[in-house]
Amino acid sequence: MAKISAMRQFRAILKKDIVMELRTKEMLTSMGLYTLLTLVVYYVALSRAGNGFDVRLIAGGLLWLAFLFTSMLGLNRSLVHEKDQGCLEALLLSPLDRPVIFFGKAVGNLIFLLIVEVLTIPIFIFMFLASSPIVGPIWEIALALLVGAIGIAGIGTLLATMSVNTSGKDFILAVLFIPIMFPLLYAVVAATSGVIIGDPGYQHLFWTSMSIGGGYDVIMLVAAYGLYEFIVGA
C-alpha cells in the first residue's frame, strides 16, 4: 500500500473540520454571537465614561480581549467533539502522522478564528469608532490580527488537546492559555493600539511588535509541533 503523502493527510483533516462546520455551523455561530455579546458588555462597561472619553485609547485592548475569550470558546468546542464522538481515537488509529493531525486541526481553528475576526472588526468600528477615525492603515491591523490568530491557533490547539482530557475542561484551558498567551497578547495589543491611536512613531512600534509577535509564533509553533505527538498519544 502506498504511503499517503503528508499534504493529502493534512487536506483530509482540514476538509473534515470544514465540512463538519459547514453542516452544523455550530462553532461559527456560537463564536460570532459570543463576540457580539461581548461588544454589548463593552458598551455597558463604557457607558459611564462620558462623551469626552476617547475610546481609541483602549480600542485595541478591547478588541483583543474579545478575540481572546472567543478563541478559547472556539478551541474548546473544536476538540470537545473529537473526544465525545471518539474521533480522536479514530484519528490515532488511522495511518496519519501525529504532527499532521496537529497542523490540520491548527489550521482549521485558524480559519474559523480569522472568519470571526473579519466579521467582528466592521461591527466594532461601527459601534465604537464611528466618530473617531483610525489613523493608521487598515491592512496593518489585518496583519496584527493574522499574527495573533496564528499564535492563538497554534499553541491553543495543543493546550486544548490537553485540557479536553482533564476534569476542568474550559477552566483548565483558560488557566493554561492566558499566561502562555501573555507575550503575544502584549505585542499585538501594542501593535493594534499603535495603529488605531496613531501617536507619532507608531510605525516603529508597530513593526517592532509585529516582529516580536512573529518570533513568538515561530517559537511556539515549533514547540507545539514537537510536543503534540506526546500529548495526543497519551
Binding site: 490537553m162 482530557n165 488557566v175 502584549y186
Partner: protein, 250 residues
C-alpha cells in the same frame, strides 16, 4: 542516606550564607538610591534599627527596605534556575518515559513555587517601602507575575488529570512550554517601548555590595538544592512505604 546528610549540611550552610549576606549588607555596604527614595552615600550604615541620622525615621524605613533587595534578587534568580532544572527533567521524562524523571520534575517545580512566592512577597514589601504602592504594572513585576501564574497553572493541571501516565506527559509538556514562555515574557515588556518608565534600573554594584550579593546568591542556590534533595528523599521514603504496604496486603 548520604545524600540526605549532604542536603541538610547544604541547607544549614546556605542559610548561614544568606544570613551573612543580609548582615553584611546591613553593616558594611554603601547605600544608593533606588526609585524615588534618595539616600545620601555618606550617611553611616551602622546601628540601623535606631535610625540615628539626620533624616530620621524616614531614613530608617527606606534604608531597611533597600536591604530586602539582597534577599529578593537571589531568590528570584534561584527560582528561574530551578525552573530550568524542572524543564530539563521534563524533557528527559518525555524522552525516556521513566517515572522518576517525572517525580524529579514535579519536586523541582515545587521548589520553584516556593521561591516564586518568596520573590513575590519580598518584592511586594520592597515596592511598598520604596514607592509607596503595593503593586505597579512595571515590566519586571508583570512578567514575574506571569511566571507565578505559569507555575501555579502547572499544579492546577497536575491536579486535574486522573490517569497517572497522562498526567506526567501533560505536566512535562506544559513545563517545557512554560519554560520557553517565561524568558519571552521577560523580554517582551523590555523590547516594546511603553509609557511606563522602568523605575528600577540596575547599575553596577559596588564591590562592598557585590560580595554579600554573590554570597547570598550562592547561599540561596544551596538552599534550593537542599530543599529539592530533602523533598526527593521524602518521596523515595513514601514510595518504599507504599510498596511495603502493597506487599503486605497482597
Amino acid at each position: 542516606m548520604k545524600q540526605l546528610r549532604t542536603a541538610i549540611v547544604l541547607l544549614i550552610v546556605g542559610g548561614l550564607l544568606t544570613t551573612v549576606d543580609l548582615f553584611w549588607a546591613f553593616f558594611r555596604s554603601t547605600v544608593v538610591s533606588f526609585g524615588t527614595v534618595t539616600l545620601s552615600k555618606t550617611v553611616e550604615t551602622a546601628r540601623p534599627f535606631l535610625g540615628r541620622s539626620a533624616l530620621g525615621f524616614q531614613y530608617g524605613k527606606a534604608w531597611f527596605s533597600q536591604k530586602i533587595f539582597y534577599f529578593h534578587v537571589p531568590v528570584a534568580e534561584a527560582s528561574f534556575l530551578v525552573f530550568g532544572v524542572a524543564a530539563f527533567f521534563a524533557i528527559r521524562f518525555l524522552m525516556t518515559r521513566r517515572r522518576d524523571f517525572d517525580t524529579k520534575s514535579r519536586i523541582a517545580m515545587e521548589t520553584t513555587l516556593l521561591f516564586v512566592i518568596l520573590t513575590m512577597v519580598t518584592g511586594d514589601l520592597w515596592t511598598r517601602a520604596s514607592w509607596g504602592v503595593w503593586w505597579q504594572w512595571e515590566p519586571r513585576l508583570t512578567t514575574y507575575f506571569i511566571m507565578t501564574l505559569l507555575v501555579i497553572a502547572y499544579f492546577v493541571l497536575r491536579n486535574s488529570v486522573e490517569d497517572e501516565e497522562r498526567r506526567a506527559v501533560y505536566a512535562s509538556a506544559f513545563c517545557i512550554i512554560a519554560f520557553i514562555d517565561a524568558p519571552i515574557s521577560f523580554m517582551i515588556t523590555r523590547l516594546i517601548p511603553s509609557d511606563h518608565p522602568v523605575v528600577f534600573t540596575e547599575g553596577g554594584l559596588d564591590p562592598s555590595q557585590l560580595i554579600p550579593f554573590i554570597i547570598g546568591q550562592i547561599g540561596m542556590l544551596m538552599i534550593g538544592y537542599a530543599i529539592y534533595s530533602m523533598r526527593m528523599h521524602e518521596e523515595l521514603l513514601q514510595e518504599r512505604l507504599a510498596a511495603a504496604k502493597e506487599s503486605l496486603e497482597g
